[in-house]
Symmetry: C2
Subunit: 250 residues, 2 copies
């Protein structure tokens, strides 16, 4: 597929949306602030329970354990697992490390569901609400369906439908995810645009024939740590969902 020239941020207000009918969104980091949300909920636990956990370190290690867990599934060392289960495997190791191994099972489960209780970036709800007027908007996340559904209720995210790697039994960036999402939406890959703050996700989406939009999330990994840059050949680039809505005429 011929890729469109990179559109300079802010200079493409009148650009047509390239025949795109649906936008599918990466969620962790792109729509919601996983790190800030875990830190805030964790710090309120510190206050309530008298703990002294470094929740920034906890969040970073939790997130860092997630890619290698998926790789174990990809290599066949583990059977298919939803992200809730992968999060729990990593959590169980961290609870030992952070001195929380004595928590009751219900407390561990509640802690694991922090990922169901993540807050959107400040522009997320307003931006999605604008985009939804013009496009079908759906998740396309490695998060499982119930995680994404509960998060949508918690954070007020107005999805038209919840699509997940769980439905394809392939995690992103496997091509089955992107092609499966287009198929479920009844669209050709080129009629779907992947929106993400991560270059690898967008590269894989483009390779599968989807259109791509990069959104900057400079604080995803915390202040002072570098966020991802847009990959070459991305169709749109925006500093947040409100700018993306303007670029797409929504």
């Amino acid at each position: 597929m011929k890729r469109r020239e990179f559109v300079v941020s802010g200079l493409a207000l009148m650009a047509p949306p390239l025949g795109v009918q649906a936008l599918v969104f990466d969620v962790f980091g792109t729509v919601v602030d996983w790190r800030g949300s875990i830190i805030r909920e964790g710090e309120s636990l510190n206050r309530a329970r008298g703990w002294k956990i470094d929740w920034a370190a906890f969040a970073d290690k939790w997130r860092a354990g997630y890619g290698p867990s998926m790789d174990k599934v990809r290599r066949g060392e583990l059977p298919w697992k939803r992200i809730d289960e992968l999060h729990r495997m990593v959590l169980d190791r961290l609870l030992d490390e952070f001195g929380l191994a004595s928590l009751r099972e219900a407390e561990k489960d509640h802690l694991n569901r922090m990922w169901h209780r993540l807050h959107g970036w400040p522009d997320a709800v307003a931006g999605l609400t604008r985009l939804k007027k013009k496009f079908v908007i759906a998740t396309l996340s490695n998060g499982n369906v119930s995680l994404l559904t509960n998060m949508a209720r918690f954070a007020g995210l107005p999805w038209d439908c919840v699509l997940s790697a769980e439905l394809m039994r392939h995690y992103k960036p496997d091509p089955e995810c992107y092609l499966g999402a287009a198929d479920l939406l009844g669209l050709k890959p080129g009629e779907v645009m992947m929106v993400a703050a991560h270059a690898g996700d967008l590269r894989a989406a483009a390779k599968a024939g989807l259109r791509t939009a990069f959104v900057e999330r400079p604080l995803e990994y915390g202040p002072g740590r570098k966020a991802d840059s847009p990959p070459a050949g991305v169709d749109y680039k925006a500093k947040d969902f409100l700018e993306l809505a303007s670029l797409l005429g929504a």
Copy 2:
């Protein structure tokens, strides 16, 4: 599982919701008025095109062809097909019968997507909006994901997520549908309640371990034709979604 006694309509305002966390809804006939919607869109086509089609007869025959088409898939005479494809198979026969075989392909496709443009019963949006405050609300329909997603946008149905037979590759009333929906919601079957205007759907859901609510839709098949009655052992019975919300304390 021990089934709860039948709750007399209107007398159970204080009844607890039995541990139910999510409601899954049959859609065609229960949430949306497929017959009235097809007749109304068809009659506006009659006016615009000078046709004299009997759209009530057309709608009834279209709907009647759908069960036998699913049975062909169940028996293995056809490979898996989404409902859009089954609707189209039936439509192609009806276009011959009703003298519309000369329509262009784009017109036939647009006609087939009438099922994406169905209107909710008058209580549907208000009732779902109330129920959503207390429960996760999802579709559980034989309609495919894109059909249900487009319909939600068209009719303003505020689903938390769109679940479909397409995701399980089994049509209702196969047990895989009900069990698969509970699994995707991360719930036990008994934590999910099936809401439908059809006894067969509710009997199959109960057999799979779900809770059940029957909603009356006396006009589903048109005036003068009998609608379905609640099956024995149903947990709740309501005359519409607003009464169901009251019965469930939502």
